[in-house]
Symmetry: C2
Subunit: 142 residues, 2 copies
Amino acid sequence: MRELSIGEVALASGVAASALRYYEKAGLLPAPPRRSGQRRYDERVFGRIALIRLALEAGFTVSEARLFVSGFSADTPPAARWRLLAARKLEELNAQMERARRMKSLLETSFRCRCPRLEDCERYLGAVKRRGGTRRSGSSCA
Amino acid sequence: MRELSIGEVALASGVAASALRYYEKAGLLPAPPRRSGQRRYDERVFGRIALIRLALEAGFTVSEARLFVSGFSADTPPAARWRLLAARKLEELNAQMERARRMKSLLETSFRCRCPRLEDCERYLGAVKRRGGTRRSGSSCA
DNA sequence: CTACGAGTTAAAGTGCGCTTCAAGTCAAGC
DNA sequence: GCTTGACTTGAAGCGCACTTTAACTCGTAG
């Protein structure tokens, strides 16, 4: 199990060294042992980093991600708060997926239609908003 | 067709008046006619606002959204750039949905498992990352 | 011994999407 | 005439997630 410098971890993970230091200060990454002042990581850090990136890219704020990874790593589990966060985030993820789905559908439709007027496609948007299908409204977007 | 003040539009749309002014300056909303200096909107603005909010909430930047709505409204259509943006955004939306799906799956699983150690669940995360299923890895997370 | 590259810190800077502020205009009501 | 409240503008401020900067310490190579 090699010991890795912050530069090596940055290179291998694709996350900048400055971001890794920032995550550490923010309580997302545990402070690794130092060799003459320099951080030495072991390979398990990659799992943690992947977890952090997934959470952040899924829309968690840094402090939400902190609670998430700390609750997740089960030392001092603040189970109640963790579950509350998880439940809230599940709803947000559903909303996010729904929005992405609607936007995709709108983009795909307007990609292939030569919709002459904004209004027509807004009517489509309205349809998308309410029913969410890829079906087309009777009135527009040939 | 009533003429609406910015305050009325803000109230009805749920978007702050300051944000509406910002959208106008940013070229997302057309500048409406003024009555003694004050903006007067008609109801069609709500469609535009919904379009803008959907795009922004789906992860478009303001300038992407500007291209999107302007290309969409078909006066001076910069079709090539529009289609390029649309294609790129479709990919991003797919990535976003995939991330949301993975995060959801992780959250749901760890919600109901009393996973004792971070590593085990990271192994699960690895499984989620590679295969993306809700299936469970042989080794962890009872 | 010197120079170099990679690391260290605290603090300041960045870009985005707004929000807030300060100072002013306008129409309506008393 | 005066006040009130909603509006106007440009400019400054904010929160977030980092990045950049400045000044410094190490270990290694020449």
